[in-house]
Each structure stands twice: as C-alpha cells, then as structure tokens.
C-alpha cells in the first residue's frame, strides 16, 4: 500500500465509499461474490511456460476498465477517462449514447440511400462504400451534454469519467461524404441533408451541406476494425468536431433538401436555451475544452513531491494550440507539454510536472485552440449562456487537492 500510490485497493476504497458497492458491481469495479480477490498467477512467471497463442487477445485479468452505464437502452455510458493513456479510446470503452438501444444489422443486407435534391438517387451497399478511395483520421466524438453534471449540481466525489466520460477518440476509416455527393450529383440548391439511422428511434438530424463537402466521413472502420455495434455498425456518419448526436449511427439514409427538416433532436433536444430568452439551434461545433484526468478523484496522493499532471484537451474547431495548467487555484498558469501528434478535432494529451509541497490547493487546466478561443471559466460561461442553458458545457474543470492527498472535484454546485 505505502509504496503503491495508485494501488487498486486505494482506488476501490475511495470509489466504494462514494458510489456504494452495488454501483461498483454494476460498473465492474468491485469483485463479484465468490471470485478470487486477485487473479491467480504463478509466483515466478520465469519458471513456468506461458499461455499459448490465441485467436483473440484479452486484457490482463488485473485490468478491468469499465464504462459506467446510466439509463438502459435510452441512456449513456461513460468512458473511464482516468484509466486511459495517450489519446485513443479502446473501441469497447468508447462512450455510448443511444436513443432506442443498439440495433442488430446484417452487413450483407445493409444499404445506404442517398436521394432528394440529387441528380442520381442511389443505393450503396457496404461493398460499394468500401470500393471508394478510403481515408483514415483520428477524431474525437463528444456528446454535447457531456459535462452537464459540472454545470449545476456538481459534487466533490465525481471522477473524470463521471464528469466528462461522454468523449472518446478513435481512428475512423471510411469514404468522404463529398465523394458520394459527387457520385450522386448533389444539386446546387441543396443546402441541408437529413442523416437518418436504422435504430428503433430512426434517429435523424439535419446537417448543413457545407459540412459534407468539408470533412464529413461515411465511416465503416474504427481503430483498425469494423465500427462497433454501439458506435454504429456497419456504417455511421462522422462529422469531425461536431456534437455527437449529429454523427448519426447505423446510417441508412441521406436526403438532400433546401431547408432543415426540424426533427425532434434538433428542436426539442440539442438546442441551447440562452439567458436572453432565446434558444440556440444547430449549435454543432464543440468548443475547446480540457480536463485533468490525473490526479483526480478518487485518487489519493500518498505523499508530496513530483507528480505528473496529465489530461486531455480537444476542440471541435481545429487543433489545440496550448494547454495551461495552474497548481495554485488559477493565480499563475504555465503551459503544459502537448504530446505529439497534435491533430485537429482530436483529443490531445497534455502533461505537466508538478512538485506538490503537501499543502491544500486547486489544480486546473485551460485549453486554447488555433482560433484563439480560450476555455472559459464557469462564471464566464454562465454569463454568456445563463445558468439554465443546456449542452456544450466546456468550462474549466477544477480539482481540489487536500492536505491528506485526497483529490476531489472542485466545481461548485
């Protein structure tokens, strides 16, 4: 314990007190009854032959990263940000947000229909889509409701996962939507496209056609394999930097039109009420944001001295140009190291070496993107949008480090 600052027991003890054992079992963070407490391994692995080859790899039994699922088939599951390193999210830990569960789709029967204001309405099957020249890009995807818990009603016992787990980065592979648009001959008057999914909600969003010509992707690959069912198998729309909901999963239909369709998800949901008595609609881009993922609740720092503060930053408008870190509650800021490559519309890992003197303090991170946008404080965001607004909660996240080393979420609430 003493020499293993981040031991499983430390983590579990503090998580258990916060979440309760039932929630832990649900989250896969606690030992199920009857299971051995520790996986069985030989005392000296150099003295016994190792395991044979296998068709499918598995995680070490000592590693049990888990999403936290809230809300069943209409809910969300949060990616364990504090358990991840680098910038890529393993596909089986990518966050989820479904409106009517995960549909089961036969790739052999899969079709994508593009019609409306086009010269040649066309149905593409999966083989058709894969035959076009493909591209791969690393992009983040973030639910626009991510971080809502930190805007109002935040508690100290929230982990990075509980606060901001609705963001993930994958390498997406597919065909640019612009390629398909040239294939079907999009008419000049077409200004919007309806993207529609094949789930039980037939989830649909209106997207400006300019985004399709810019960088929209019809994706069938995720991190080197087929897109996972929870992420839209066999084909999803990827709109780099834009709110997750618009990146329609299980994509089956695109209709071109001269006006937006005003679906439920772009009117009664995914609109942002503002303090001036209006509500913003079609607010697609995710503004720059960052969160420290270590040290963060439920970590307890065992002693003072050198610690590497680490976290992720991202912007839906391009590259992260700088991340500043403060270890004195925002009085002084210093630039963190950004891990290369720093890619546009993608998680960027930042690191900052910190010599903790053992006193109580607050640590914060502040992202700046290439447009010059600076991640706002909670007060700035509330002033700009109002306390009752919804979605796009990209204000600065704070962590309070107590004298005893316990790190608690420091947002007010």
């Amino acid at each position: 314990m003493q020499d293993a600052p981040l031991s499983r027991r430390v983590l579990l003890t503090s998580v258990a007190s916060a979440l309760g054992v039932h929630a832990l079992h649900k989250a896969g963070l606690a030992q199920a009854p009857g299971q051995p407490r520790v996986p069985t391994v030989p005392p000296d692995p150099t003295k016994v032959p190792g395991a044979p080859l296998s068709e499918l790899g598995r995680r070490s039994p000592f590693e049990r990263p888990r999403r936290i699922a809230i809300g069943g088939a209409q809910g969300s599951s949060f990616a364990p940000l504090q358990d991840l390193c680098g910038i890529v999210t393993p596909a089986d830990l990518h966050f989820e947000r479904h409106h009517a569960g995960v549909p089961a789709i036969d790739p052999h029967r899969y079709k994508l229909l593009i019609h409306g204001m086009v010269e040649r309405p066309t149905v593409f099957d999966l083989a058709d889509l894969r035959r076009f020249p493909s591209v791969s890009h690393l992009y983040f995807l973030e639910c626009s409701g991510n971080g809502g818990v930190s805007y109002g009603g935040a508690r100290p016992d929230l982990s990075p996962q509980a606060i901001d787990g609705l963001t993930s980065t994958s390498e997406w592979t597919g065909v640019p939507l612009a390629t398909l648009f040239r294939e079907v001959g999009v008419k000049t008057g077409a200004k919007w496209l309806l993207a529609e999914g094949e789930d039980a909600a037939v989830m649909a969003r209106s997207i400006p056609v300019d985004k399709a010509w810019d960088d929209a992707l019809i994706a069938y690959g995720q991190n080197g394999e087929a897109v996972r069912p929870e992420q839209g198998y066999p084909v999803r729309l990827v709109l780099p930097g834009w709110e997750g909901n618009a990146n329609v999963k299980w994509l089956r239909r695109i209709e071109l039109a001269d006006k937006p369709f005003m679906t439920r998800e772009e009117t009664s949901k995914y609109t942002d009420p503002l303090a001036d008595g209006t509500a913003r609609m079609f607010s697609f881009a995710m503004d720059a944001k960052s969160i420290i993922t270590f040290p963060a609740y439920p970590v307890i720092l065992p002693d003072r001295g050198w610690w590497e503060i680490s976290g992720i930053a991202w912007s839906g408008r391009g590259r992260i140009s700088r991340v500043d870190v403060s270890t004195d509650a925002g009085r002084r800021w210093a630039p963190a190291d950004l891990q290369a490559p720093v890619l546009p519309k993608c998680h960027t890992r930042f690191r900052y070496l910190w010599n903790w003197d053992g006193t109580e303090t607050t640590i914060l991170s502040r992202a700046v993107d290439e447009t010059g946008y600076v991640q706002p404080t909670l007060d700035q965001l509330r002033k700009a949008r109002g306390v009752g607004t919804y979605y796009h909660f990209n204000h600065i996240r704070e962590w309070r480090v107590r004298k005893d080393g316990a790190v608690m979420f420091g947002g007010e609430g």
């Binding site: 209409q74 409106h99 009517a100 079709k111 229909l113 019609h115 309405p121 149905v123 109002g152 309806l194 529609e196 039980a200 909600a201 037939v202 989830m203 649909a204 089956r252 239909r253 209709e255 039109a257 006006k259 369709f261 005003m262 679906t263 439920r264 009117t267 009664s268 609109t271 942002d272 009420p273 503002l274 303090a275 001036d276 008595g277 209006t278 509500a279 913003r280 609609m281 079609f282 607010s283 697609f284 881009a285 503004d287 408008r317 391009g318 993107d369 447009t371 010059g372 946008y373 600076v374 706002p376 700035q380 965001l381 700009a384 949008r385 109002g386 306390v387 009752g388 607004t389 919804y390």
Partner: protein
C-alpha cells in the same frame, strides 16, 4: 428505386412536405393516448416518468436559459407542430416503434396540441391543417452565432 425511397422517406418538414393522407381529432387521440402513451408520459401528459408532454407555463417569456428548474414541454418549447408527427411516426411508442397508423398519429398530435391549449378539442389535424398550427415557442429559436476566436458565446 422509387419503391425503396418511398419505404424509407417518411420525414415531415415544417411546411408539411411528407405528411401522408389521413386525419384525427383530440377526442380520438385521447383514447389512443390512454392505451399507448399514458404508461410512460402520465395520465394527462404531465406525470411522467418519461418526458413531460403538456404544459404551457411559463407563458410570458422564454426563461429556460435563466431557470434550470423549468421543464420543457411540447407547449412551451417545441417550435414546430410537424415535428410531432415526424417523431411519433419514427419512434413511438417506445416498445412498438413505427407501429402507429397515420390516422392514429394525427389523432395523437391533435390530442397533444389540445392538451397544450394550442388547438381546440374539435380541431381536425391532417396534412393541410397541421403545418398551419403556430407553436408558442416558434420564434424563440436563433441560429448558432459561435465562431471560435476570443469571444465566449
């Protein structure tokens, strides 16, 4: 090709494009609502446990950005009546999505609009009347004005 398009092209636009033949009234909708919707949305559309559908308050302003306790309903927040048809047709009821017939959907839409004091209980909803329904929150929505750069919006 035409048949394939017709089978999937169910969307309804604010000007009524896409609305099928059929019609319904609030009285007809009340009975369908009781059988197919009330379990999730409550007896009068206000009780939940899922989304609250009815309620016009607050009528005078649109203070959702200032008051996080306000609950959005069809009557106080939805800008277009056609969206109701489009959404019920796509996704409702939760356990049998896509099962409602056009007459049932028109009737349910009429019922919900009546419950929100937007149309009279005798109003007939069909492809002509529904796009003409003016929703109270219609002019509250503005386009995104965030552009990146130094200003926080």
């Amino acid at each position: 090709m035409t048949a394939e398009i017709r089978a999937w092209d169910t969307d309804v636009m604010p000007d009524g494009t896409g609305l099928p033949p059929g019609s319904g009234t609030a009285a007809q909708g009340a009975e369908i609502y009781r059988r197919k919707c009330a379990a999730c949305h409550g007896k009068t559309g206000t009780e939940g446990p899922f989304d609250r559908l009815a309620g016009r308050e607050p009528r005078q302003a649109f203070p959702f950005g200032r008051d996080p306790r306000l609950v959005k309903t069809v009557g106080n927040y939805w800008p277009y009546a056609t969206t109701l048809y489009d959404y019920l047709n796509r996704a409702m009821p939760l356990t049998a999505p896509g099962s409602l017939k056009p007459d049932e959907i028109y009737a349910l839409v009429a019922f919900l609009l009546w419950r929100n004091e937007i149309v009279a209980d005798t109003a007939v909803m069909d492809a002509q009347t529904l796009p003409r329904v003016f929703m109270p929150a219609r002019d509250r929505f503005v386009l995104d004005n965030r552009r990146g750069g130094a200003e926080v919006r």
